[in-house]
């Protein structure tokens, strides 16, 4: 089966610019996650969707980050405006129904903010 797809793989922007990341989960997976992974750290959950509804966005910096999953399939994560500390790898993951199930991660988008 096809894995989790993400694009772009790399992005370099200047601070205060905006950026968007796209994710297409594994077909049939109801739960989609966006993680931020700073170098040398474990992934940190930003937002979790169940179908097209938000389950948990408690760690999402809502003044600059937004995410949507309008049709319950693919999702976009946006940062506007970006800050230097947003430099990280943004990982998308999906699971069959929820965190009880194993999560399948995409290749990630490496964001560099200069």
């Amino acid at each position: 089966e096809a894995g989790v797809a993400q694009s772009p793989r790399y992005k370099i922007i200047e601070k205060r610019q905006s950026v968007a990341f796209w994710c297409n989960p594994i077909s049939g997976h109801a739960t989609l996650y966006w993680y931020q992974q700073i170098l040398g750290q474990g992934p940190k959950l930003l937002i979790q969707f169940q179908n097209n509804g938000v389950v948990d966005d408690s760690q999402l910096p809502k003044d600059r980050f937004s995410a949507e999953r309008l049709k319950g399939v693919d999702s976009t994560l946006k940062i506007q405006p970006a800050k230097l500390e947003d430099s990280a790898v943004y990982l998308c993951a999906s699971s069959f129904r929820g965190p009880v199930y194993e999560q399948y991660f995409g290749p990630g988008t490496r964001l560099t903010v200069t």
Binding site: G42, P43, Q48, P99, V100, E102, Q103, Y104, F105, G106
Partner: protein, 111 residues
């Protein structure tokens, strides 16, 4: 938020030596998932532990969940160069079921 502490942060071993990483928490863990991330790669699910005292094996990998569900460990017997990567434990918190990842243990294997 919940915190899972992983030790050591780094481990360098010679091929053939054993390796163990530990995951500890001050609170009771809901369940533990272990992931492996190769250099430049993404996390890949290894196993999930749910029951107190549970032990699971995958070839050379042995996973344990403590009796009090406050710690877990991953042991690799006779490491190989293909074992190189960072091993993360993650607790599935009881609230909303979100995963809390540790900082990981980065394993280097010398041939």
């Amino acid at each position: 938020g919940q915190q899972v502490m992983q030790i050591p942060q780094y481990q360098h071993v010679q091929e053939g030596e054993d390796f163990t990483t530990y995951c500890n928490s001050s609170t009771t863990l809901s369940n533990i998932q272990w992931y492996k991330q190769r250099p430049g790669g993404h996390p890949v699910f290894l196993i999930q532990l749910v029951k107190s005292g549970e032990v699971k094996k995958q070839k050379r990998l042995t996973f344990q969940f403590g009796e009090a569900k406050k710690n877990s460990s991953l042991h690799i017997t006779a490491t190989q160069t293909t074992d190189v990567g960072t091993y993360f434990c993650a607790d599935r918190g009881s609230t909303l079921g979100r995963l809390y990842f540790g900082r990981g243990t980065q394993l280097t294997v010398w041939p």
